[in-house]
């Protein structure tokens, strides 16, 4: 299941939706709005997307994860519009028979989402100024230990 939404993400329901009797592991990733990027204070983010292409790329990630791991279920949902600090912008959940597969599949899904899906965030500062984030690698994770490859990213 993949979805773009302008409503708050119900990540409890999302997690329940991937549970499967054949799967002993469920892994969930939440991306949340952070208040500081380096020295820059953020009061809210605006998320914009190229909707049809974003949904297509999310579906491709789901298919890729299903091809590469013995996934019971996988769900990716990204929120759009204005989000305050602390709100959930993205949620990815996956179930697999064993935990190692769940961690690996989840990480791959999140890293690929951040690399390929046409969604953009604008950081809005307390003084009313705002700036689109357009770094080519690790755009959402400045200050985190993003490496050169998708497998090294983290949020």
């Amino acid at each position: 299941m993949v979805r773009l939404t302008r409503e708050p993400i119900d990540y409890h329901a999302l997690t329940e939706s991937v549970r499967d009797p054949h799967c002993g592991a469920v892994a969930l990733f939440l991306g949340t709005v952070r208040d500081l990027t380096g020295e820059q204070v953020t009061v809210f983010l605006d998320y914009d997307a190229y909707g049809p292409m974003a949904e297509k790329k999310l579906a491709e990630i789901e298919a890729d994860v299903r091809r590469r791991w013995p996934v019971g279920n996988v769900a990716l949902i990204h929120r759009l519009g204005r989000l305050a600090v602390g709100e959930v912008s993205v949620a990815v959940a996956v179930s697999t028979p064993h935990r190692a597969e769940a961690f690996n599949a989840l990480r791959h899904a999140v890293d690929t989402l951040k690399e390929l899906v046409p969604i953009w965030k604008k950081e809005n500062a307390p003084d009313g100024s705002g700036e689109w984030v357009h770094q080519s690698v690790g755009a959402g994770c400045r200050g985190a230990s993003l490496g050169p490859g998708p497998k090294d990213g983290q949020s």
């Binding site: 357009h134 770094q135 959402g140």
Partner: protein, 81 residues
Amino acid sequence: MNVNVLLFAAARDLAGSDVVTVRLTPGSTVGELRARLARDCPPLAELLAKSAVAVNHDFADDSRSLSPNDEIAIIPPVSGG
């Protein structure tokens, strides 16, 4: 032929519009579209050089030929998540 090019995020802000129409000779490629767009809309040039181009919801390289009915979009470096 005229093609409409969809713009998002900073590209939209720089151009002041969410779509621009670009006049191309028939059979033009994505690379030729990039050059034409940079000439027609100079504020976009710098970001355009860092951006991908999507044709019909897939990333397209510069050698891809364009048709009038293609859905074309400029994809600045993404920052979802």
